[in-house]
């Protein structure tokens, strides 16, 4: 297979990251992601769905870090998304690392939960499932194009307790302050952890993209924080490897919200690496080392960054 194209800016970034193995990263771009999914316990018991899949010739393996998460060993079709179980809403195809942020968020039945950047809905459906359709989930996105797939995915999943909104995420920190028990802030990013899905992200990456997006990411995280009740839980996550979109954003939150606390989060069965404490002359808050971080080649899956934050109890 030919070597994937990388922009100059991305090559420079890879060489400046002290914990990055450039060759392993490039190699990971050429490997497809494992096929993974969640079973929909809103519709049927997990064992019933697994039995139904087995009857149809599926062979699956449980994922240790995701309740209801499985890896496809064998499927009835080449594309699990084109199967009857998927189209009936009994399973949801979702990347393995993509399931991690909601596991960190750990939403419970009866709570008020906000998914700030929800489209197309994989994490919203995961939240609704863990809430057992009890309590309220507000699934928001700022993109009018992506709202339709969000609505249709929530429909297919059977998420009865869900309100879908089309708003700039900053609305919630201003207009719904201290409302939500948990807030997921899975932000738009440079996607450098998922370049195996689309090489264009690597080919077209420019440092300007990061400069433009990190201000937005910080403002969304501040909004998420302000929308959370005192004592609430916020998860900030990206699928990129760039410290300015990860460690820097969390550091800035800690600087601007002095009652914020980072909680350590270590999902079972996953290789994790220690976030950076400094980079390009910038020092990050030592608390960021409690965050979850992995590069694509760490788990033969997506690269992800997940920060689990608790809001102070109030003054």
């Amino acid at each position: 297979m030919s070597r994937p194209p990388l922009s100059e800016d991305l090559l420079r970034l890879l060489r400046e990251l002290p914990d990055m193995d450039e060759e392993l990263y490039i190699e990971s771009m050429t490997r497809p992601l494992p096929e993974t999914f969640r079973v929909n316990t809103l519709k049927l018991p997990e064992e019933t769905i697994i039995g139904f899949l087995a009857e149809r010739g599926w062979e699956v393996e449980k994922l240790p870090w995701a309740r209801h998460g499985y890896r496809v060993v064998r499927c009835e079709r080449e594309d699990p998304g084109a199967t009857l179980p998927h189209l009936l809403g009994l399973i949801y195809i979702q990347g393995p690392m993509s399931m991690v942020p909601v596991e960190a968020l750990d939403p419970r039945p009866g709570e008020k939960v906000l998914d700030l950047c929800a489209a197309p809905g994989s994490k919203s459906t995961q939240i609704a499932q863990l809430m057992e359709n009890i309590g309220v989930l507000v699934a928001n996105d700022a993109s009018s194009e992506r709202i339709k797939p969000l609505i249709s995915n929530l429909q297919r999943w059977g998420a009865m307790n869900c309100v879908v909104t089309l708003k700039d995420g900053r609305y919630f920190g201003k207009r719904m302050r201290e409302t939500f028990d948990r807030v997921l802030c899975d932000v738009p990013c440079s996607s450098l952890g998922i370049v195996m899905k689309d090489w264009a992200a690597a080919r077209d990456y420019s440092s300007g993209m990061t400069e433009r997006v990190r201000a937005l990411q910080l403002s969304l995280l501040l909004s998420a924080y302000d929308a959370s009740v005192p004592g609430g839980r916020i998860v900030y996550s990206t699928c990129t490897i760039h410290p300015l979109e990860n460690e820097w954003v969390v550091t800035e939150l800690l600087r601007r919200r002095d009652d914020a606390m980072v909680l350590r989060f270590e999902p079972e069965g996953l290789r994790t690496r220690r976030p950076l404490e400094e980079w390009r002359g910038m020092r990050f808050d030592p608390e960021v080392t409690k965050c979850f971080k992995c590069y694509p080649y760490d788990n033969a899956a997506e690269g992800f960054f997940v920060a689990l934050i608790r809001k102070g109890e109030g003054r």
């Binding site: 009936l88 809403g89 008020k112 989930l137 009865m160 869900c162 879908v164």
Partner: protein, 153 residues
């Protein structure tokens, strides 16, 4: 969208009782009628949250549609009410389920029971798979949106 009041809920239940033998609507759900006869349902708490937010794009789930031919359940509606339905619920074989899910009509003659009305709900064991319209040509046509049909290989 308009919330169905008590008398409208009662009327809806009568339609569902006549079509599918449903005896009760879940008390913890709010029902709304939207355009084209589509009825949605959500939890009360979700409904109350939606009242607090300026402009909501969607709330809850689409569960059934009222047409001039009668009322039928969406895929999620059939799954929501499924085990409580007492009439016009057809058990499919594995082979029939595959054909159904691809959008192919089934012959009434091959069904496990004779439909009594204009619509049936289908199931395969615990898996409910939406409604079908019984037509004069002796077929049952799946009322599954095209984007949710299994592509034929």
């Amino acid at each position: 969208m308009r919330v169905l009041d008590r008398s409208e809920r009662k009327a809806l239940l009568e339609e569902l009782e006549k079509a599918f033998g449903l005896e009760e609507l879940p008390q913890d759900l709010v029902f709304f009628e939207g355009s084209e006869g589509k009825v949605r349902a959500s939890t009360r708490e979700a409904y109350e949250m939606a009242q607090r937010i300026a402009r909501v794009e969607s709330l809850g789930l689409y569960v059934l549609k009222r047409t001039k031919f009668g009322t039928y359940l969406s895929v999620e509606g059939s799954q929501l009410f499924g085990e409580k339905l007492r009439r016009n619920v057809v058990e499919l074989t594995a082979e029939q389920l595959e054909r159904w899910a691809s959008g192919e009509p089934l012959d009434v003659s091959e069904l496990s029971l004779r439909p009594e009305g204009d619509f049936v709900v289908v199931r395969y064991g615990p898996v409910f798979a939406g409604s079908g319209k019984v037509s004069r040509d002796g077929k049952v046509h799946p009322q599954i949106p095209k984007e949710r049909r299994v592509p034929v290989e």
